[in-house]
Symmetry: C2
């Protein structure tokens, strides 16, 4: 089982420098966990990830169960052996897919409604592919349209086979457009599922080989103060050695930061906290100030593939490498960056590769963006190591 | 200008061990030159190529002129600086596109007609996108449909700007279905274009910075003995310091090997010979025996992307990693291979990545296939270093 030590607390915020020790290595926190949905970070390989300083990966139980299958990964010796990434692994439970393939489609939103600025109402984007009941979630497979059942117990079994160091129970991730009443019901159900997951965990815990795994709890409750506070206390009382914050984070950044404050105030200090699916640089700074230790987010790698490269030297924090203004630009993506891409390639070359549709582009862009996330977390840890709170104005270009 | 030294000749064949020295490094021959059409080997980067032992790359003037443009690459300091590959570069002239976008489409064939086994006649696959005249070739751009003119002189100018170490004059690559009469006319035109290229080369050679470049000649003549012999003598007499064998190589492997023997008999021994676009393991062995020093071929990297992995341990020399039989296979792609992919990843993982459409797959597969080509050339050179001729039965699984 993993352990967590707080090495230094910041003055003036809940920020803390920590060390999370898992069976497959240590994670210096606050840390960014790279998203490897189907067992690999898209376009990168384990050697690449080590080279840019990635400390841990998060895979997705829903996607891995559909393909190649949890049993198959288990037969191959688990995710570490199968994927070649022998450092710390996390696996998400499938709870996010309850949302993204369900209400997220029906409501046309992300975890924070304001990802579509100006939206005041839901804008349906499709039909739900999920049926929820007390028993669990039934999904329509994105691969072949068949129905697949996930229960709190089956998700624990699957994650035992996948063998990640940190695993999560099945939860219901709600939408920012769900009513207070629905959010409260979903939250209560998530709590009952957490109890069932824990029961399955303790039952299985002694008989299966992967006894080095740690089960985190997930706090839900949307952007409602009483629900979030109650959920945080409930999950903490169940004694999970780590806690993830999931579900709707409201309709604005302000609501998200409030949610984190409420949760932080209810949780025991010595428990590591993971924020699911959030990862813009600005959000990370604010979340660290509210006591979050680890983050995962697909955006930095997805943005890379779409042509958006992070640059701590740019005003906006990013540049669109497809833009004609980079056609003849001999400079590196980010002059302050120490990644192999910035050391050896120009903006003009990356612009050319993306325009030409060359596969080489996707990996180089991914490595640069990941390195930028890693460097950003290093900056934050350096401040915390001095007892200082990370500050948006100090860390981000203005 | 590059220089070539024959270090050892084989007994019993025309095979030779050589050392080709360019302004950007040495190439131990016989060597496989990796195809980097638009300035990059698809899915790989320069560090990858060094890691698997690739010695040289070949880019394509036609594609690079269309995008990003020869002037632009020139402004960036040439292909070496622009691409980050600082070892030897070659550039093909666009002559292959005269064929592949022209008669190749009309006749529905590759350079060896038998790539479509059993074909006895042309099978048209589309309309030619090329208009040929004594002046040069006019192409319809694959990017925007506009017409682009290539002349022997413009192709030299473009390659001066691209700055490859070894460059090729514009030629007309004929189809195996062209008549003897047409092939003879095209061959004569190629000779006149070679003279014009050489005139442009010597005129420009003193005034542009890239004086370290070498212009090879190209031998044409299809699969007709008298035409091939005459073309080889003509090109040799023009004093090119290197010679490439281009165009139709007939309608069978046997015809191809005969063509190589005719050409080899006519060429001076001390001139390095490049075989354009050929690169199956079997063909390479036979071509080395007929005095070929360097090869380029897109097949090993294209096959990788399509799921065909080379394996010197397999009977067929390859395996289709998409096949269900590899779903649970924990072994490496090729137990005899020393590449990073075989060291760290299983067939099951690569199977999963390809099935899941993960970008990571394409690079790993590419690196493995390139490493296999490099190892194969190393085996051939090891035999030649002992004065032995490479032998198909000894080198290839049966």
């Amino acid at each position: 089982m993993s352990s967590f030590r707080i090495e230094r607390k910041a003055a003036g915020s809940e920020g803390r420098l920590g060390l999370l020790t898992t069976a497959h290595g240590q994670i210096h926190t606050p840390a960014f966990v790279a998203v490897a949905t189907r067992g690999t970070v898209r376009a990168a390989d384990p050697r690449d990830l080590l080279a840019v300083g990635v400390q841990a990966l998060i895979g997705n139980t829903y996607h891995l169960v559909l393909r190649p299958g949890a049993e198959m990964v288990g037969e191959q010796g688990g995710l570490h052996r199968f994927s070649g990434w022998s450092g710390p692994w996390m696996t998400d439970s499938g709870g996010y897919q309850v949302f993204s393939l369900g209400a997220g489609k029906e409501h046309g939103v992300g975890k924070v409604a304001s990802v579509f600025p100006g939206d005041k109402n839901p804008r349906p984007q499709g039909k739900s592919l999920v049926r929820l009941s007390e028993q669990g979630a039934v999904f329509r497979s994105v691969l072949d349209g068949s129905w697949v059942t996930f229960t709190p117990e089956s998700v624990i079994r699957a994650q035992r086979l996948l063998g990640a160091d940190i695993v999560l129970p099945l939860d219901e991730c709600t939408s920012p457009w769900h009513s207070r009443e629905y959010t409260a019901q979903a939250c209560e159900r998530t709590h009952r599922w957490a109890e069932r997951a824990l029961a399955a965990w303790n039952e299985d815990g002694r008989c299966l080989p992967q006894s080095d795994q740690t089960l985190y709890g997930i706090v839900q409750g949307g952007a409602y103060e009483d629900l979030r506070r109650r959920s945080a206390r409930f999950i903490a009382d169940l004694g999970f050695p780590g806690v993830a914050v999931g579900g709707s984070l409201g309709r604005s950044k302000e609501e998200m930061f409030q949610v984190l404050r409420w949760v932080s105030e209810e949780l025991p200090h010595n428990v590591p906290r993971h924020l699911l699916g959030i990862g813009s640089l600005e959000d990370i700074v604010e979340a660290v100030r509210r006591g979050i230790d680890t983050f995962d987010c697909a955006a930095p790698t997805r943005m890379a593939r779409n042509g958006t490269l992070l640059s701590l030297g740019e005003r906006s924090g990013r540049l669109s490498i497809r833009s004609a203004r980079f056609r003849n630009d001999r400079g590196p993506v980010d002059p302050s960056c120490d990644c192999p891409v910035c050391a050896e390639h120009s903006r003009a070359f990356l612009h050319h590769l993306l325009r030409a549709g060359e596969l080489t582009y996707y990996r180089l862009a991914t490595l640069h963006n990941l390195r930028t996330m890693v460097r950003f977390m290093e900056h934050i840890r350096a401040l915390l190591a001095e007892g200082r709170s990370p500050d948006r104005k100090e860390l981000l270009p203005t």
